[in-house]
C-alpha cells in the first residue's frame, strides 16, 4: 500500500475512543511495555485523519503503552493513510496483526462485527471469517454479536482468559442483570475458566429446568454457602449447585457412603461405585507393602459379608 506518508502528531490529537478499526482489546503485553521503555517506538502506528482527530488503524497497543507514560503534549512519529478506503485500511490492519499475534475472543468478535458493516457477505465468508478462524456456522456469528454487546467488565474477563467462549455460549441468553451478577461472583470468588464454566452451566440448567432466572439459583447458592466472614467458598458453591441439579444422584452417593458405614466397611479398602452409578462395575483398591499387610487385607476381605456386598452393589 503506497498511500501512506510519514508524519508527526500529538498524542492528545489521537481519538482513542474511536473503534472503527477494533484490532486490539484487553491487557497490554509486558514485553511490549519493556520494549518501548527500552528503545521507544520501533514501528510507527498507522493513523487516519478524521474530523475528531486521528483514528487508529493499526498500532493501538503501542500507542496505549506510550500514552500511559507520556503527557500527551509530546509529538510522535506516525504513518498517515491517505486516499485509502476503510476496507483497504481494515484489511491492512487485519493482516498486519495476524502476522504477529493471535486475537483474543473479544478482539475476534469486535473485528467480525466491524467487518460485517464494511464488507460484502462474500468477502466476510471467504476472507474475514477464515482469517479470524471463525467457522461459517451461524452460532459463531451470533457468539461474536453477543460478545460485542457485553459489559466492559465481562469483556475484560473474556479478553484476559478468565471466561472462555463456551461460557459465553451458555450466557448468551442471559439478561444484563444476570450477567452482572455473574461478573460480581467472579470478582468475589476468583472463579475462572473450567470451574466457572461448570458453575455457569449448572446455573443455566437449573434456571432452564425450574423456568426461573439464573439469579434465583445463584442467590440461593450464595446464601447457602456464605461463610462466617461473608465470603464464598468456591468448592462449597460447586457442591451446592451439583446437589441441587442432581438431587437423586447426590442422594445415591450419600446412601452408598451410609451403607459402608453401616456395614463397618474397612477404611483401608477403598470401594468406589461406577461413575454416576452407570454400568455396574465397582472398584476396590488398597495398598500394601509386603506379605503381612497383604494377609491382613485378605483377612479383612474374607470377613466382609456377601449380603453386604450385594446391598452395596445394588444400583440406585
Amino acid at each position: 500500500m503506497n498511500n501512506v506518508k510519514t508524519d508527526h502528531c500529538l498524542l492528545s490529537d489521537i481519538d482513542f475512543d474511536d473503534r472503527t478499526f477494533p484490532f486490539s482489546y484487553g491487557f497490554l503485553p509486558a514485553r511490549l511495555e519493556s520494549s518501548i521503555a527500552a528503545v521507544g517506538l520501533l514501528q510507527q502506528p498507522l493513523l487516519l485523519v478524521s474530523d475528531n482527530g486521528f483514528k487508529i488503524v493499526c498500532g493501538r497497543r503501542r500507542l496505549e503503552v506510550i500514552s500511559k507514560t507520556a503527557d500527551g503534549s509530546g509529538k510522535i512519529s506516525v504513518c498517515l493513510a491517505e486516499n485509502s478506503s476503510f476496507q483497504e485500511l481494515f484489511r491492512r490492519a487485519l493482516w498486519e496483526n495476524l502476522a504477529i499475534r493471535e486475537f483474543n475472543p473479544v478482539e475476534t468478535a469486535d473485528i467480525y462485527t466491524a467487518a460485517a458493516k464494511l464488507f460484502s457477505i462474500d468477502e466476510i465468508e471467504k476472507e474475514i471469517m477464515p482469517a479470524l478462524k471463525l467457522p461459517l456456522k451461524p452460532r459463531f456469528r451470533m457468539r461474536c454479536q453477543v460478545i460485542a454487546g457485553f459489559s466492559r467488565k465481562l469483556r475484560d474477563l473474556l479478553a484476559a482468559g478468565s471466561v472462555d467462549v463456551e461460557t459465553v455460549d451458555l450466557i448468551k441468553g442471559w439478561s444484563d442483570k444476570e450477567r452482572t451478577a455473574l461478573t460480581d461472583l467472579v470478582e468475589e470468588t476468583g472463579l475462572r475458566r473450567n470451574k466457572l464454566r461448570e458453575v455457569v452451566s449448572r446455573l443455566d440448567d437449573l434456571a432452564c429446568r425450574d423456568e426461573v432466572s439464573p439469579l434465583e439459583p445463584l442467590f440461593a447458592a450464595r446464601k447457602a454457602v456464605l461463610n462466617e466472614a461473608g465470603g464464598i467458598d468456591v468448592e462449597l458453591l460447586r457442591s451446592h449447585l451439583k446437589a441441587r441439579l442432581y438431587p437423586q444422584l447426590t442422594a445415591a452417593h450419600l446412601e452408598f457412603a451410609a451403607l459402608q458405614e453401616k456395614f463397618s466397611w474397612p477404611a483401608d479398602l477403598r470401594l468406589e461405585p461406577p461413575p454416576d452409578f452407570e454400568g455396574g462395575e465397582y472398584r476396590l483398591s488398597f495398598t500394601f507393602t509386603g506379605s503381612d499387610e497383604w494377609r491382613k487385607i485378605c483377612d479383612k476381605l474374607a470377613s466382609v459379608a456377601l449380603e453386604d456386598v450385594d446391598e452395596l452393589c445394588r444400583r440406585p
Binding site: M142, G173, D205, Y246, L249, P275, E278, G279, G280, R315
Partner: protein, 377 residues
C-alpha cells in the same frame, strides 16, 4: 373411542417445498421426474454436486426449510443402525438409507447434531437401492429387520415421493426381511391405497406424552391422529409398531404417559402390535448446545443427566428405572403379552424392569426376529 372433530388429510405431505435442487447426476431418474411433476409451482434448479463449502453457500441461497434436494446416492443403501456402544443392548436393526432429514422439527431430534447436509434430501437412484437389496437379502440364513425411519421420517413426505407402495411391494415378496416404516405423521394414503401384497410390512409410530407432543414435536400429528392412522393401517393389514422414544422426565409425566397408553388401547388391541420399544432421552454432549440454540424454549436437556458409558448424556439410572417400570406396567395392564424392548439400555435395567435381560445384542435381535411371522417361514 375419541372422535376427532375433523379427520386429517392422509394424502397431505408434511413437506411442500417451493424449490427443488437437482444434482446433475440425479436428473432424468423416474423418481426425480415424478417428484418434480407433483410440484408444478416449485422452482427447479439443476446444480453440480457441491463440496461441503458450496453446500453451505447453497443453504444460504436456498432456504433448507423450503427446498428439497434430489441426489444420487453413491454409497451403500443398506447400513447397520449406528446403535451405541456394546455396554448398552442394541437390536441389530438395518437401515435402508433412502432420504436424509425431516421438517417436523422435534426439539430433541438427534439429527440436529449428526447431519452435515442442511437440506431434506431424497436419493433418487432407487434401481441401485433395489439391486443392492437383491444382492444382500439373497444371502441364505440371514433374517433382516429393515427400516427407513432412522435418518428421516419414513412417511412425512410420502405423498410427494410415493415411495412407500414400491417398498411395500418389494418387501411383500421378499421372505427374508421385514420392512418397518416409522413416522410421526399421518401421511398414510399411499399405504391405504396400495392394493398389492403387504406381506409383513410394519407401520410404526413414535409416541410420547400429549404435552411433549404439543410442546416438543413441531409439526407432528397429535397422538390421537397417529393412533387413528395406526388403526386404519391395521385394518388394511399392516402390522403396527410403537416406539416410546425419547421417554422424558418432566413434572406430571406419569399422568401424561398413562393417557397415551390408554389412548393406544382405545385404537388398537395388543395383538395388533408387533412390538413396543422404549428408550429414555439420550444425546451426544455436543448436541445440547445445538438443541438449545435451535429450540431456545425447550428445557428437556436440563434434567439429571449423567455421562453414559457410551459417552452419551442419559438420565441417572434411578430416573430411567422409574420411567421404565411405570410405562411397562401401564402397557402390560392392557396387553400383557405384547413384546416390549429397550432401545440402547443396559442389562441391569432390563433385568430390573422385566426380570430378564438379553445376554448380548444377538439375543435381543433374535427376540425381535421371532416377533415376525415370516421369520419361521
Amino acid at each position: 373411542m375419541t372422535i376427532l372433530k375433523q379427520p386429517p388429510d392422509y394424502s397431505r405431505s408434511l413437506f411442500r417445498p417451493t424449490k427443488v435442487l437437482v444434482e446433475e447426476e440425479a436428473a432424468g431418474y423416474p423418481l426425480t421426474e415424478s417428484i418434480i411433476g407433483r410440484l408444478p409451482d416449485a422452482e427447479v434448479v439443476t446444480i453440480k454436486r457441491p463440496s461441503s463449502e458450496e453446500l453451505a453457500d447453497l443453504s444460504r441461497q436456498f432456504g433448507p426449510r423450503t427446498t428439497l434436494y434430489l441426489a444420487r446416492h453413491r454409497g451403500r443403501f443398506l447400513k447397520a443402525c449406528p446403535g451405541t456402544a456394546e455396554s448398552y443392548r442394541c437390536c441389530l436393526y438395518q437401515i435402508l438409507h433412502l432420504a436424509l432429514g425431516c421438517n417436523i422439527g422435534c426439539s430433541y431430534c438427534v439429527l440436529q447434531g449428526y447431519l452435515n447436509n442442511p437440506f431434506i434430501t431424497q436419493f433418487v437412484n432407487l434401481d441401485d437401492a433395489f439391486a443392492e437389496l437383491d444382492r444382500e437379502l439373497g444371502r441364505p440364513g440371514i433374517f433382516y429387520r429393515i427400516g427407513t425411519g432412522e435418518f428421516t421420517d419414513s412417511l412425512f413426505m410420502d405423498p410427494l415421493t410415493e415411495l412407500a407402495p414400491g417398498l411395500i411391494d418389494y418387501f411383500g415378496r421378499c421372505k427374508s426381511a421385514v420392512l418397518e416404516l416409522k413416522t410421526k405423521s399421518v401421511a398414510i394414503s399411499g399405504l391405504l391405497d396400495y392394493s398389492g401384497e403387504i406381506g409383513e410390512t410394519i407401520v410404526s409410530w413414535s409416541l410420547n406424552a400429549p404435552r411433549i407432543c404439543a410442546k416438543e414435536e413441531g409439526h407432528a400429528a397429535t397422538i390421537e391422529e397417529r393412533l387413528t392412522a395406526a388403526a386404519l393401517c391395521r385394518q388394511r393389514g399392516y402390522r403396527i409398531g410403537l416406539h416410546f422414544d425419547p421417554l422424558l422426565d418432566f413434572p406430571g409425566w406419569e399422568d401424561e404417559y398413562r393417557q397415551t397408553v390408554a389412548s393406544i388401547f382405545t385404537h388398537l388391541k395388543g395383538d395388533d402390535i408387533i412390538w413396543i420399544s422404549i428408550g429414555a432421552f439420550r444425546f451426544m454432549p455436543q448436541v445440547k448446545e445445538i438443541l438449545k440454540s435451535n429450540h431456545p424454549q425447550t428445557n428437556i436437556t436440563a434434567g439429571e443427566f449423567i455421562r453414559g458409558i457410551d459417552g452419551k448424556q442419559r438420565y441417572f439410572s434411578a430416573i430411567r428405572r422409574r420411567l421404565y417400570r411405570f410405562l411397562v406396567a401401564e402397557i402390560k395392564r392392557y396387553a400383557p403379552d405384547v413384546f416390549i424392548y429397550f432401545c440402547m439400555e443396559d442389562q441391569y435395567l432390563w433385568q430390573d424392569t422385566f426380570g430378564f435381560a438379553p445376554a448380548d445384542n444377538q439375543e435381543l435381535s433374535h427376540w425381535l426376529d421371532k416377533c415376525c411371522y415370516r421369520y419361521y417361514d
